[in-house]
Amino acid sequence: MTDTYHIPIISRGRIIPPGDGAVEFKGRGGATFITPDPHKHIHDLVLGNPVLLSDLQATPIRDIIDFLAEAGKRMRLDDNPYLQESFALALRAGGLAEPILRGVYEELPHMFDPSGMAALVDSTIGIEYLDGWVPSPAGPHCRLRAVGTRQLHITAGNVPVVAALTIVRGALTKSDILIKSPSNDPLTANAIMRTLIEIDANHPVVKHVAIAYWKGGDEYMDSQIVRTTRIDKITAWGGMSSMKNIQKFLTPGIDLTALNPKFSMTVIGKEALESEEAMDEAATGIAVISGFFNQTACSNTRLVYVESGTDDASLEKLDELGRKVVAAYTALPQQISTPAGKRNDDLEAELEAVSLEDEFYTVLGDTLTGGVVVSRFPDRVDFYEQLNNRVINIIPVENLLDVTKWCDDTTQTVGVYPESIRDRLLDPFALAGVQRLVPLEGGDPLRIFAVMQTLPPGMPHDGIEPLRRSVRWVIDHRPAGDVPPLNIAAE
């Protein structure tokens, strides 16, 4: 296995390999990255003059989609050497097991599906608004256009689809995007763009993508890039530290979309404990939503609130549910979830400590196969932020509406079982910060997973609409009665 990875800078159709003056970064998993010194390539990364976006603006969405769709056909791990290289590195530096990462990569072509992309952009922005000036309902003297912007994307690397998502969204909003690659997936965005460059290095979409790796918190890079003259919008995935670094350079005029870390959960109604069948069905649903992608995603459940008392009989049922979840993990198909490659020592130590406290907690399973901590009183474990490796915490609550006190802007996805509890929770949960509720019923892991992963195009992300937010809405207000020139793209 290679220890040293060459990570070129991708600059508007050009591939800048690490040559003289290249710099080294210690990557994750023992790998070393060699890249051109990003400090010396600021101008290759940013677009100082926004009017230079006119080539992309003049390209109809139809052409952009055709181009991306062509690229999508080549996003196959089997015969795309760029993807093979990024796959190997993501496997090593990231947190996903081989069969899962393979599954994620196999999804790539679908992200470039032409009808999906058309539906996405049309339902969120409206293609006509991107391709030309659209009269307002009040008449043609007042028109609107969605104009592309210059964006910095600090991407997350835990699931490599983020790289594809970012490139597709950038192109569909006719924007100029600069991607700062993450250390846990430094090559996927690179690989996708190299594939696009091979198709047409001069395509306007290609001309408006730059990708580089630099170390998070590099103040020189941040100070050079995060300027109103160079960047209009920032999309930042990830933790507090990356946010805090960026925030130092934020000024009015730069719009930050913070896709900050999320913490998802599941709520289970008392009906789930009333029969063996219901308990099995609930356990499978919990195992899927907690275990898919080996619990590395923001939408993975870590806390499971169950409508239950705390008397011995009720707690015994919760333990039983816990045992069923641990068993259900082992039955998950390997493209959804696998046992962990190695123990999580910190979490294991937490489990060991609380397992001595059987008055408060029951501990089942471990950090290799997955596990469950059942709280014997209505509160989550104090180390809930560390829950990982398919380990969850089951918490009894008298009334599921009490769960709102644990919800906030970080509560992204909530699994629900059975469906009969959904309607009474929906509105309070929505107000409390929850961003999405998903079903867990059916008992078939692949189906539950597929339903969870399949949203109609253009649905919001983390409670916001990133596409709408990444364009600038411009008004062309003329004297009433004035007739505007014919719109080229609207012909």
């Binding site: 210690k26 990356s242 896709l259 923001c298 001595l356 406290e357 408060f360 932020e385």
Partner: protein, 467 residues
């Protein structure tokens, strides 16, 4: 067992708590290879006694299938880490369920805590007071992560603990705190059950010659309840629901006072040192405080051209390194000595969970005494060999612990030199001066992920963790 060595300095495996009774010097003349077997024998006895009387240890031993401690390796799975000392649910503190907290702690000590009078107690601070009255000496941590750990020490350990602390001080400063009292100044809080403050009250006040000779920046301390609940109080306040949680108004009041105090700390510190310089001109003093406090004071003094003139034999006693300071002068000790006009900075290395903390030798290392069995782990928690110089995560068995289990895994990364060739002439395994948190060893990286949540940033805890 090597009887000749054990006899010479009377290291009885029955009573490690008495090994120091002739001072540290004879112990530092012994090679660890000569008392290794006595340590194991002492460990075996400790384990036998504690296994049945410390419920938490008994349960862990049973689960791990360990019935006897015939080697250090035998007890590795039984070492506690900080999580064990805070494995209670935070919500029992929030609900002030002192009874459950008490029965939680009961499982970690040989003492029967069911006899503690808890009538009318509804704060952690009150609970710790009652434990002291009962004969315990429980100290808590700072709780920077929002949860306090409690180390279940008791008066049974006090004689050996006192001796160990005093000998540690003497070894690092050549001043015997048991006989040579020195007016002491400590720029921090006073009293309470925080382990470090508790130790200062137990050991440094007598060493100063009594409370009137021991001067602190503040005359109060941070109540344990506040350290523990600061995070939840902040969250409740943000929701406008602070009153809903039913906190004692006095606690809310104390919180506001402490936030105010923390804001003024730099100024207070300057005033306090200024007064100290004025009133102690020409007098012999002992200064405490963190390296950062001493450096800041020296810098601000130099800027204002204020210089202390202490009497001969004055010295500094500190520890903990440069925590929370990243712009320290390269030779900070020289800088501080020069400013304060002192020859000696006594340095110690220890932690709340360890009674066998050690003083720095003339060559700059920390020699471990026989009543501690030091252990190093690598990143995968495999024990490192006891040869040459090894760097890893520090764990130990504190044989001075008589009423609780002394096996503990710290969060520190240290280097131990097992060859006994220190320039100072002392023997025993010695710890090098480069001590850092284990988490730093794993290296910060900028992995970005959308999952999990960030640590709640809490301004208040940031202030008070500077104690």
């Amino acid at each position: 067992m090597n009887h000749s060595v054990a006899d010479k300095v009377e290291l009885s495996p029955e009573r490690p708590e008495e090994w120091l009774q002739n001072g540290y010097e004879p112990l530092y003349e012994l090679s660890w290879r000569d008392y290794e077997n006595v340590q194991i024998a002492a460990l075996k006895l400790r384990f036998e006694r504690l296994r049945d009387s410390v419920a938490g240890l008994g349960k862990l031993a049973k689960r791990e299938g360990i019935t006897s401690a015939d080697s250090v390796e035998d007890v590795l799975p039984l070492l506690f880490d900080h999580r064990i000392y805070k494995s209670y649910p935070l919500s029992i503190i929030e609900k002030r369920d002192v009874g459950r907290l008490n029965s939680w702690l009961d499982r970690l000590t040989t003492h029967d805590l069911s006899g503690v009078n808890l009538a009318g107690v509804n704060t952690v601070e009150g609970w710790l007071d009652r434990l002291d009255e009962f004969g315990m000496l429980v100290g808590h941590s700072t709780g920077t992560t929002g949860k306090l750990s409690f180390v279940p020490r008791s008066r049974t350990e006090l004689p050996a603990w006192t001796r160990a602390y005093n000998e540690m001080t003497r070894s690092a400063t050549d001043v015997d705190p048991a006989t040579e009292h020195v007016e002491t100044f400590f720029p921090g809080y006073r009293g309470g059950h925080h382990m470090m403050l508790k130790m200062l009250m137990l050991f440094n006040v007598p060493a100063a010659g009594g409370p009137e000779h021991y001067h602190t920046l503040y005359q109060t301390h941070i109540p344990a309840d506040l350290s523990s609940l600061a995070g939840r109080m902040q969250a409740a306040e943000d929701r406008g629901e602070l009153d809903k949680l039913g906190f004692d108004p006095a606690l809310v009041e104390a919180r506001n006072r402490l936030v105010e105090q923390a804001h003024n700390r730099e100024r207070d510190l300057e005033t306090w040192f200024g007064k100290l310089f004025e009133e102690s001109r020409g007098k012999r003093v002992k200064l405490g405080g963190t390296a950062a406090d001493l450096i800041r004071t020296a810098r601000s003094g130099i800027a204002k051209d204020i210089r202390p003139e202490f009497g001969p034999g004055s010295f500094i006693m500190t520890g903990g390194g440069l925590k929370g300071m990243n712009d320290a002068p390269e030779d900070w000790e020289g800088f501080v000595k020069d400013y304060f006009g002192l020859d000696t900075i006594g340095m110690m290395y220890g932690m709340s969970e360890w009674m066998g903390g050690v003083g720095r030798c003339k060559a700059g290392d920390y020699h471990v005494m026989p009543h501690t069995i030091p252990i190093l782990f690598d990143m995968d928690m495999k024990m490192l060999p006891r040869t040459g110089s090894q760097t890893g995560r520090f764990a130990f068995i504190d044989l001075l612990a008589q009423t609780y289990w002394g096996g503990f895994i710290s969060g520190d990364q240290i280097t131990i030199h097992w060859e006994e060739d220190c320039a100072c002439g002392w023997k025993g395994p010695r710890i090098g001066p480069d001590i850092r948190r284990f988490s730093e060893m794993e290296g910060g990286d900028d992995k970005i992920s959308c999952a999990g949540t960030a640590q709640t940033y809490n301004e208040f805890m940031d202030y008070i963790s500077e104690v």
